[in-house]
Symmetry: C2
Subunit: 305 residues, 2 copies
Amino acid sequence: MIAYFNGRFMEKDEIRISPDDRGFLFSDSLYEVIRYYPGLLFRPEAHIRRLNHGAAHLSLSCTDFSHLIPIARDLIRQNHLEDQDVLVYIQVTRGTAPRNHPFPDPTPDSTVYMNVTCFDPAAKDRQRKTGIHAITVPDIRWARCDMKTTGLTANVLASQQAIENGAREAIFIRDGVLMEGTHSNFMAVFDNTVTTAPLSNYILGGITRETVLGLCRDMDIRVAERPVYESRIHLASELMITGTTTEITPIGKLNGRAVGNGAPGPVAKALQAAFSSKIQQLQKQHPWFSPMKKGENSLKNSEKP
Amino acid sequence: MIAYFNGRFMEKDEIRISPDDRGFLFSDSLYEVIRYYPGLLFRPEAHIRRLNHGAAHLSLSCTDFSHLIPIARDLIRQNHLEDQDVLVYIQVTRGTAPRNHPFPDPTPDSTVYMNVTCFDPAAKDRQRKTGIHAITVPDIRWARCDMKTTGLTANVLASQQAIENGAREAIFIRDGVLMEGTHSNFMAVFDNTVTTAPLSNYILGGITRETVLGLCRDMDIRVAERPVYESRIHLASELMITGTTTEITPIGKLNGRAVGNGAPGPVAKALQAAFSSKIQQLQKQHPWFSPMKKGENSLKNSEKP
């Protein structure tokens, strides 16, 4: 598979991360996962906006990664994946320097890595139809979950704990509030109102979360961005997670207890239908993957090796 | 410089971390820094014990890294650094696997990386003599600071904040308690009692911290492992940080305010002297770096490439 690394397209197997890379040593590093539906890279500008926000906060040498969008499309094209379901993974780090905690001086160039992988949506489709089991876990993460850093040890451990308990996702609880999942946002329906943690330093501003809240408004479904308390969770008629690969997936059981009758509820189903129809509509509008001219690619001359 | 990577000694520049390494993708990874004084690798067993503790908690495929101690010595020898001051850096990760949050199945071999770097103690010596400036910052880290993971984004940012404020270290405050520095433990002297945060999930069990508390007991200096509250910090006669490269370094100013008269206090000086004398004593007892026989090295046959 061809990937992208620091200005070059190359075989992924040939990519060499230095052991002095601050992504490896310090998780001084950000990432994004963008979904590609055949013909449609889904909301790449929103992902890049979030990446730029993180890069600015971390004071990386590069804080505008919008040039990566045509490169992502190019990578899909070069790997002949135009008619596949694909995940585009982007990771940027502060770069490579002798190990020392503060920012290196002089400032190194950011490491920029992107790969594409085929994604079989069948398993996720099934989960969307039947609902998943989820558990809750204490939120032991740091207090800047709004930045999508690769400091994911807590997410890995919670995700594994879910699997070991026969569940698919773990929802983090901080101070009695269900914040978000290990790689998804979390929503609950109370009295026909879709309720989800407000944006803060404790949750990631999910792109799918934003899309879903927009769909709710279009569909006259009431939305409340306010804390979902653990003490009231038994009163929810529906629970769901949202995310790039998850889209909108109902939670049928939380900590072994059925949510409603355990089957996907009417709000989740309506949102799933609206989401699918939005994707199909966008796919029709964006037939971007017409063949490039011979020799043409997305790299500016200055970036070519 | 020759380094060690997954069972092989090789030029550091030739080491290739896969972009699928979970250390890079998830900070699913632990590290240690061990100090080598000429002739003396300082308390490597304690470092390895802590590494093993972390590896067991993360359920890595390898949870006993004691074989790395002779390899560390060998690396010093192979790089002809026996009579130098050296830092040995060890990092182990869950290994390499296609990106997915839970533990990969099948379990990959842990990635094991070790390098040595020359360390000029002159700057740190000066800081020990004059004291340093430090600042306090809110502790935004996760709740498992007892594990020495590479999830260090908060430490990097706080460390940089210290530098930008003309300071050398930032001390994390959680719930009104001064916990530890970004890469050191923290101690305060109240009424001739060396006081430091008790071991918990909120601080790293520092090897130097343990050594210093042991020295206090040997020297009949009272020790209290109890919270050091921000509200009482002005009552401390001395403040200091302890760590592998820091050893025992007095804090002359905290947040711009002089500690005592701003100069290193009697407790810090007594501990520094005792620490130096302990090192010198151990250096005499451990002349381990006699030349190896030709062709001999620390790798078991099974590990040789």
